[in-house]
């Protein structure tokens, strides 16, 4: 077959010349046999442009400007090449050098011994990602030596808002050898440097290629200085409305690492289900998981937390309370502990909760706090130090508490009216008791009190928040829509915040009710205030209408748009970001994700032609 094709090619190439400018009919034409193999040219201010002809005839002096591979064109075209998120400064060579992972070496002599083990794991992730560019197998072997020298200045391995994530990356090619220098204060900065290094590399495969042959190409020179604008760059994943298998969570973490996000906000539980195994309280999963296989074991959770750490990501576990708690908490009476939660699965639900099934913790029952303490102990055991707990705290329905005689008499005893303000006091009391429990459990581990996160709510309204929630202790995650003044008000009051405007950064919107889908352009265009009190932002994947089947395409590449907003907060346009994001998309695909398409493929082959 191949030989036949080749012969046909040779004969038709001659014929083609003859046929030109001769009157003929369609039937008389012998078609030239060749594959549609486009080439790409890097055009200043436009980006990578596909050749007009599928088999461009190249004059000798123009060959250098053409690339067989669109991905290779992207890593050298434009000031920031194919790097996502955009670094602070970058100077990239327009030349490339072929490399092979077998001749890639990491020099870790200049890193503190305590960090070396973790750093080795980080380099393994990067090496695997390079192999993934070629689908796991780099067929073109070159023996160019690539040495990556990593310098880490501190021995810090903990990850929090104070972690220094900046890095410097230099690539130099001299005499058939490539030396890569990465310098950072912490291993997390070094990891970001490694990630950026991997983004200077592309496979030389043509796009839509049908051949197995694959080599890797590295930008031959680079000088990059980079650090994030916001400290908190997160993604919320809800594993309660639907169970999301570990493998899918890990894939999501891979995408986050690729885009230098650093907080995996795990909305682990809700009223729907409780998939998080708590070793001290097995009832949670027994009464709350969808099935024996739809839960996360302690071992799996530990592994995930480590998996994330190796990728520079801190896991924040959210135990949503006092509302959004139901299934998993309904066994108290059976065990002689009274009602740990009230109105669990109550029907009709409309006055008792935001969506079925209902359920709210019972603040009148001291046993509830005992069980909560056990749960917090388990969470504290799991999380890396310093542990960050998200206490939930959203959408409390007073109608639910008001339906419980036990709670009403408790309020009477405490001297709370059964008015809105009375219920507010009860709610505030819950959070402060919960925080005290958390503090005690943290301190039992020899740690100082840590701030906790809390969703914005009626309780966090500007005129009320200071009476109930200490600004030194609570970081408020503001999910109000864009037109709400709450974020600004909380900043003025001195609260630290994380911003997740629901009408723009909620990934589930657009599929239900009157919500509107934000595509990546809209998500990217939104900016946060530059204020000490704004730690950063998150995108949120609520899973009422999404499970593992649809997860990737709902999250990617949109989460990446927010990742760049939070990392570099660029002033440049959406339009100038698109080619780099197209490159990121192919990178995510190579790494096993299934991101949505942003445009017809024609537009990615013709940068700036689809405005």
């Amino acid at each position: 077959m191949a030989l036949h094709r080749l012969l046909a090619l040779m004969t038709t190439m001659h014929l083609a010349g003859v046929l030109c400018n001769v009157e003929s009919t369609f039937d008389e034409i012998t078609p030239q046999i060749y594959e549609p193999s486009w080439m790409y040219k890097c055009v200043p201010d436009e980006g990578c442009q596909r050749s007009e002809h599928p088999r461009p005839t190249l004059s000798d002096n123009s060959t250098s400007a053409f690339f067989d591979s669109l991905d290779v064109c992207r890593i050298v075209c434009g000031r920031f090449g194919g790097i996502w998120p955009k670094p602070v400064t970058a100077a990239l060579s327009s030349q490339t050098v072929k490399i092979h992972p077998n001749y890639l070496r990491y020099d870790l002599l200049n890193v503190p011994a305590e960090t070396r083990e973790l750093l080795v794991e980080m380099t393994q992730v990067i090496s695997n990602n390079l192999l993934a560019e070629c689908g796991g197998h780099v067929t073109e072997v070159v023996d160019t030596q690539v040495v990556v020298i990593i310098v880490v200045k501190t021995a810090i391995t903990s990850l929090n808002w104070n972690t220094d994530e900046q890095y410097m990356l230099d690539v130099q090619t001299r005499g058939g050898e490539v030396s890569v220098h990465i310098e950072a204060e912490t291993i997390y900065g070094a990891r970001h440097g490694l990630e950026t290094f991997s983004q200077l590399i592309s496979s030389d495969k043509r796009d839509f290629s049908d051949v197995e042959h694959c080599g890797l190409v590295l930008v031959s020179g680079a000088k990059i200085r980079d650090r994030p604008i916001y400290k908190h760059r997160g993604l919320v994943l809800d594993t309660s409305r639907h169970f999301i298998p570990m493998v899918d969570i890990k894939r999501t973490i891979d995408g986050m690492a690729t885009t230098k996000m650093n907080v995996f906000h795990w909305h682990a539980t809700d009223s729907h289900s409780f998939p998080l195994e708590a070793s001290r309280v097995p009832q949670f999963t027994r009464y709350g998981a969808y099935s024996g296989s739809e839960m996360y074991t302690t071992e799996e959770i530990r592994e995930l937390i480590h998996y994330a750490k190796v990728r520079g990501i801190r896991v924040v576990i959210e135990i949503d309370a006092p509302a959004h708690s139901g299934n998993g908490w309904q066994w108290g009476r059976e065990y002689g502990l009274g009602d740990l939660a009230v109105c669990v699965n109550a029907y009709p639900w409309r006055h008792l909760c935001i969506e079925p099934p209902c359920g709210q913790l019972n603040p009148a029952n001291p046993n509830m706090y005992r069980v909560l303490r056990n749960l917090y102990q388990d969470v504290a055991d799991l999380l890396n130090s310093p542990p960050l707990l998200h206490m939930g705290g959203d959408e409390v329905y007073f109608g639910c508490w008001n339906s419980s005689q036990e709670i009403i008499s408790y309020m009477k005893d405490q001297g709370y009216d059964t008015t809105e303000e009375g219920f507010m006091k009860l709610w505030g009391e819950f959070h402060n008791k919960a925080l005290q429990i958390w503090d005690e459990e943290i301190s039992a581990k020899g740690l100082d009190p840590q701030p906790v996160m809390l969703w914005s709510s009626q309780l966090t309204q500007a005129q009320r928040i200071s009476q109930h929630l200490d600004k030194e202790r609570y970081i408020i995650e503001v999910w109000e829509p864009l037109n709400s003044p709450l974020l600004t008000q909380l900043l003025r009051l001195g609260y630290r915040t994380v911003s997740v405007p629901k009408d723009i950064w909620y990934l589930d919107h657009g599929f239900w009710g009157r919500t509107v889908y934000s595509n990546w352009r809209r998500m990217y265009a939104h900016t946060l205030p530059r204020d000490e009190g704004v730690l950063g932002g998150e995108v949120a994947m609520w899973t009422e209408y999404c499970d593992a089947q649809a997860l990737d395409t709902r999250v990617w590449p949109r989460a990446a748009a927010v990742a760049e907003r939070l990392w570099s907060d660029p002033t440049s346009t959406v339009y100038s970001a698109e080619p780099r994001l197209q490159r990121l998309r192919t990178r995510l695909i190579a790494r096993g994700l299934r991101p949505d398409a942003m445009s017809p493929a024609w537009c990615s082959q013709h940068d700036s032609k689809c405005l």
Partner: protein
């Protein structure tokens, strides 16, 4: 419409399967008694519990739920609170809803008892068949069904089969087809079927009778739907008796997939076609090419893909098309390939001058695009170049040869840019050029089809299908795929004028809407997202106007344009919304998305997922566990 056969069949059930109404009521009494006893016991314990350490009360038991059918709905219980362990799947299948999708249109009677079966214990006997071809297709469709059962069985992890459910039964499937000897899905194919499943001795016998292969295949699909995997039993179960009489309301039930804006590998197309079969859809409308790309490598005109494909790996060969057509045919689906012309063409037609044929198309990738087309890149055939008609004749001939669909054809024909032609032909009204092009295209289509016009040649609705041009088209030859908004007057005008129509209203059945603009200029996209409920509840033919009774509505199609969709996201975008369309077109029940529709569609979605289709969920999983509590 439905009668319950449990009394009739109860006496025949196996030990395990005896979960008739009466029996279930008894179980519930027992469960209630247990709970009461437990509560009393714990009441005694309460005094001292407050002082005991909590962990002394915890015991690590696996979470396990059991579902019991009470008052015609499945209620979830903690397994330890009941004496019977029944899976959600089995409860759903044996409780009130038929769980069939699409809902059959004739009488249905289903047993409320189940028996264990195994995929390899199904055997086929073709009792009557009008042709060897039909027999062959029945055999292949049977194997397809068996393979799906096998896939379900793979869902059993390890050796989990419970021993107390009894041995699996043999199932003999007897198929009789009396009617057309042509296995293809045709405009005149009678898709009705009858299915009767009954116990016979220790085995089961299924009689499927139909008037065509496609009808018989639908019967097998229904048989598959009364078979399910019980995860607790670790076995397939089947209703032990059922009768279904069924026929579709509309003859044309389609899904359009655009493989030009983004390329989809053959495997994605096959999976989509399989999911269509699961929903008894019958037309895979393959919008192969557009101005962005031309992925189909024709034998007679390979230049089109050479110049038009995104790359060598983004090409469908003739063998690929044959594979797809064959795969679809044994699933009762016709492949309707559309090469859109005269607009929506691009670089694929750019090689004319080089080959000495002159310009086959104008305005290819012309800028600014907004002057010459609806979205970038531009391109429109050159209606004055006679070679274009030769070329189209080859294209049409190859479509008919490969798909073997010769009674229905799609010419495309939407969104012609009058400005593009006006720029090149200032002597003629572009509308006249368009009309003339359409006539010529029809003429070469006839030639390509052995001198005979297809019974129904579809055009997209456009300015050409509006007055005063509509009057110049012959309703005996042309049909219209109506894609304007349902409230637009022209949607009705073509029907009032007697054109056979396929409905694809943008405001209900465009699956690409609601994802914002993919360009900086923000016009030209539709929104919001069409929910499955909207898809389901759209019944434009059910109006009160006197003309509507005579409307020649052939059916409808959901349209999945792919400007913002690649392979990874295809399934979740299309399913389960297209399943909702399938029931609308098959059953066309007057009611909207009622509780029973939620319940059945949720089950159907689970079937699709089990088939390897990444369908999006309808609601939180808790609602699948407690369906009535979410309505």
């Amino acid at each position: 419409m439905m009668s319950w056969g449990d009394a009739l069949w109860l006496g025949l059930t196996a030990r395990f399967a005896r979960v008739g109404r009466l029996r279930r009521a008894v179980l519930m009494l027992a469960a209630a008694a247990c709970t009461a006893a437990a509560v009393l016991y714990w009441k005694q314990q309460t005094d001292d519990s407050a002082n005991r350490p909590l962990h002394s009360m915890y015991s690590g038991i696996e979470p396990q739920w059991s579902w019991l059918c009470q008052h015609d709905r499945c209620e979830r219980y903690q397994a330890s609170d009941t004496t019977t362990l029944q899976s959600l799947q089995t409860c759903n299948m044996l409780c009130a809803s038929t769980q069939l999708w699409p809902q059959p249109t004739g009488p249905v009677s289903l047993a409320s008892a189940a028996v264990p079966v195994r995929s390899d214990r199904f055997s086929l006997k073709v009792i009557a068949s009008p042709s060897r071809d039909v027999t062959k297709h029945i055999n292949e469709a049977f194997i397809v069904m068996q393979n799906h059962m096998r896939t379900l069985e793979h869902g059993v992890v390890g050796e989990n089969r419970r021993s107390d459910i009894g041995p699996p039964r043999d199932v003999l499937v007897k198929v009789s087809v009396n009617g057309s000897g042509d296995p293809r899905m045709r405009l005149d194919t009678n898709e009705s079927y009858k299915l009767a499943l009954r116990p016979s001795g220790n085995s089961l016998v299924v009689d499927i009778t139909a008037h065509s292969f496609c009808g018989a295949r639908h019967g097998l699909e229904t048989l598959l739907q009364v078979t399910w995997l019980d995860p607790y039993a670790g076995s397939l179960l089947i209703l032990e008796a059922a009768t279904v009489v069924d026929a579709p309301r509309f003859p044309y039930r389609g899904l359009l997939l655009d493989t030009a804006r983004n390329f989809f590998p053959v495997s994605e197309l096959l999976r989509t076609i399989d999911a269509m079969a699961a929903n008894k859809l019958n037309t895979f409308h393959w919008h192969v090419s557009d101005s962005q790309s031309f992925p189909w490598k024709l034998d007679s005109a390979p230049q089109l893909a050479q110049h038009g494909a995104y790359g060598p790996g983004a090409v469908y060969t003739s063998d690929d098309v044959r594979t797809i057509v064959k795969y679809a045919r044994i699933r009762g689906i016709r492949v309707l390939m559309e090469i859109d012309t005269p607009a929506h063409v691009g670089r694929a037609f750019g090689w004319g001058p080089e080959a000495g044929l002159g310009h086959l198309a104008h305005c290819i990738e012309a800028e600014p695009w907004s002057s010459y087309c609806g979205e970038p890149p531009c391109g429109q055939l050159n209606p004055r170049n006679p070679h274009i008609y030769d070329l189209l004749e080859h294209v049409y001939r190859e479509i008919i040869q490969l798909t073997e669909v010769d009674d229905i054809f799609h010419l495309g024909g939407d969104e012609v840019s009058e400005q593009c032609w006006a720029k090149h032909f200032n002597d003629t009204d572009p509308m006249d050029l368009w009309m003339e092009f359409t006539r010529q295209a029809m003429h070469v289509l006839e030639r390509a089809n052995g001198g005979k016009a297809p019974e129904l040649t579809l055009l997209w609705s456009s300015r050409l299908t509006r007055s005063p041009y509509l009057e110049r088209l012959d309703p005996k030859r042309f049909g219209v795929q109506v894609w304007g908004a349902s409230q637009w007057p022209e949607s009705r005008a073509v029907l009032d004028a007697g054109f056979r129509s396929v409905i694809s209203h943008v405001d209900a059945w465009y699956l690409d809407c609601g994802f914002g603009s993919w360009r900086d200029s923000s016009d030209g996209h539709c929104g919001p997202y069409r929910s499955w409920q909207q898809v389901y509840e759209h019944r434009p033919w059910a109006t009160e106007t006197p003309e509507s009774a005579a409307w020649p509505v052939e059916g409808g199609a959901a349209c999945q344009w792919t400007e913002q969709l690649g392979p990874g996201g295809l399934d979740a975008r299309v399913w389960p919304r297209t399943a909702a369309l399938a029931e609308r077109l098959w059953a066309d029940r007057a009611e909207g998305a009622t509780a029973d529709v939620y319940l059945r569609l949720d089950t159907q979605r689970a079937r699709l997922v089990a088939r390897g289709v990444r369908a999006a969920p309808l609601w939180p999983r808790w609602c699948s566990h407690n369906p009535h509590a979410c309505l």
